[in-house]
Amino acid sequence: LFSFFGTLTGGTEITKENLEPVLEKMREHLVGKNVAADIAEKICHGVGTSLEGKSKSTFSGIASIVKSSIEETLTSILTPKRRVDILRDVETAKKQKKPYVIVFCGVNGVGKSTNLSKICYWLLQNNNSVRMAACDTFRAGAVEQLKTHMHKLNSHQKQTGKSATVQLFESGYGKDAANVANDAIKLSKEDGTNVVLVDTAGRMQDNEPLMRALAKLVTYNNPDLVLFVGEALVGNESVDQLSKFNQALADCSDQANPRGIDGIVLTKFDTVDDKVGAAISMTYITGQPIVFVGTGQTYADLKKLNVSSVVAALLT
């Protein structure tokens, strides 16, 4: 039946010429949704190439064909190729009698420490004991920030009659972050703390000394998970941020154990309305999953990415 209609309506071919204006509109639309310009272009180009030369029934216009093809592409970019199951991996680590270690990294002010604390809350809710490692030994108030979260989280646990607690490991300011992390992990191994959450100082991705220090922290301590924290507000910079953080880690790791970012925490998702394009830029660049989405400033504001609603927001 399908082919019959095809021949009857003359099944016109999709050409470069009639695709071009539609793709151009789509590209602009995606950029307006805060997808990095480069990536919007690549996505549209890819869709264009795949559609060119195909025949279309006259029932569906080029625009709707392009739209559904873009929708497919966006969905596939956002759909994790690999599942990061922290709770399961924590259980495995427990059996091996070692702490599960997560390092949080990213540029300045994106929400590393806050979302570390939200993840801590989630781990405590799931009956895991936690130690926060105050490895931001640079920014004023960074240690006190975590200390405040520790007190709040512990008193919440107490109020709700739960037994798991969080402790803070700190060596004050000015210390070498890699060593602070190492001490925290060692102590946790000794006292059987289940999870170590390593907070690091924010750094600009092209500040080489600071990037090298981060890579050193990661190679030296070999954490189970390296999470890149990026804010949904970021524009074209997301591309550069992620590729340089990834590269810095790769440069410092040996061939046998290549190391990179294992996952993304996308923060401040509550501040961008429907301009959710950063989710696309970040996953496109790394191929790594968005493990958590930060949706506010309280402990409960931590969500899983809802792929279809993000795609819907991008296409409206």
Binding site: R139, E231, T271
Partner: protein, 306 residues
């Protein structure tokens, strides 16, 4: 820094247009496409880009215009004028008066760099021998008071705040009163990060502003922000009377084009830029010399003075 690369690619686009043997709508379209692309890559707001291109197109009537150089000159001038409009605001920034209390309140999105920049600005005035101080009216962010305190102590700047008072408006009012009595020139009030989607946070901002009646409210914007800037900047500006913008984190790779929409949305000029995490990493910013420098990157100087 901001727009430096942008200046280069735009200058190139204009030069390419100038050297093309024919000059018609096709050439103009091509040039505008190149310019738009460069602006998009720098995060400039997409609506502002459209406006810029439309304005340039409007200036050119191919039928009416005489051939040759004239057209090109008109376009060159239009391009640069439109670029200037992007960074320039009509409003003059508030000028603090020495010997009087000048209350400056900082507002902005979460993590944009308010607290760090407050300390930098206080230090900036202190070095110029003004009596400057800091007030922490952020009672929400964990460790906020410690952050200001540590910065202030290190830089030898008097500060005011509280671990027990929860109402930022109360702290702000108390601090300002205290420092006014002590005859401080520059009284800087730091506030919590906030966003337009949460009404209560905007109400709180208004309460603090009403409590201290600032001479100037500075909106702090991170240079890496993308297309979400405009809506946020506009919402801040609709709620309180923003008088100036500071763009932070320009020591990084970011071009800062997204933050420029804050200039358009608030109608306020950029007065300083942040170029690092340390207390001296603050530079005064004036759009005029900046744009001139930008224009100086090609041999198109003097176009705008005509």
């Amino acid at each position: 820094m901001v727009l430096a690369d942008l200046g280069r690619s735009i200058t190139q686009a204009v030069q390419k247009m100038s050297s093309s043997p024919v000059f018609d709508e096709e050439v103009l379209k091509e040039m505008l496409k190149t310019i738009s692309r460069a602006l998009l890559m720098s995060d400039v707001n997409i609506k502002l880009i459209k406006q810029l291109c439309d304005n340039i197109k409007k200036l050119i009537d191919f039928e009416e215009m005489a051939a040759g150089l004239n057209k090109r000159r008109i376009i060159q001038r239009a391009v640069f004028q439109e670029l200037c409009n992007l960074v320039e605001a009509n409003k003059e920034p508030y000028k603090p008066v020495k010997g009087k209390p000048n209350v400056i309140m900082f507002v902005g999105l979460q993590g944009s760099g308010k607290t760090t920049t407050c300390s930098k600005l206080a230090y900036y005035y202190k070095r110029k021998n003004w009596k400057a101080c800091l007030i922490c009216a952020d009672t929400f962010r964990a460790g906020a008071y410690d952050q200001i305190k540590q910065n202030a102590v290190k830089a030898g700047i008097p500060f005011y705040g509280s671990y027990s008072e929860h109402d930022p408006a109360v702290i702000a009012a108390e601090g300002v009163e205290k420092f006014k009595k002590e005859k401080f020139d520059i009284i800087i009030v730091d506030t919590s990060g906030r966003h337009k989607q949460e009404d209560a946070l905007f109400e709180e901002m208004l309460e603090v502003a009403n409590a201290v009646n600032p001479h100037q409210i500075i909106f702090v914007m991170d240079a890496s922000i993308g297309q979400a800037c405009e809506a946020q900047a506009k919402a801040f500006s609709d709620t309180v009377d923003i008088g100036a913008v500071i763009v932070t984190k320009l020591d990084g790779h970011a071009k800062g084009g997204g933050a420029l929409s804050a200039v358009a949305a608030t109608g306020s000029p950029i007065v300083f830029i942040g170029t690092g995490e340390h207390i001296h990493d603050l530079e005064p910013f004036q759009s005029q010399p900046f744009v001139k420098k930008l224009l100086g990157m090609g041999d198109v100087m003097g176009l705008i003075e005509k």
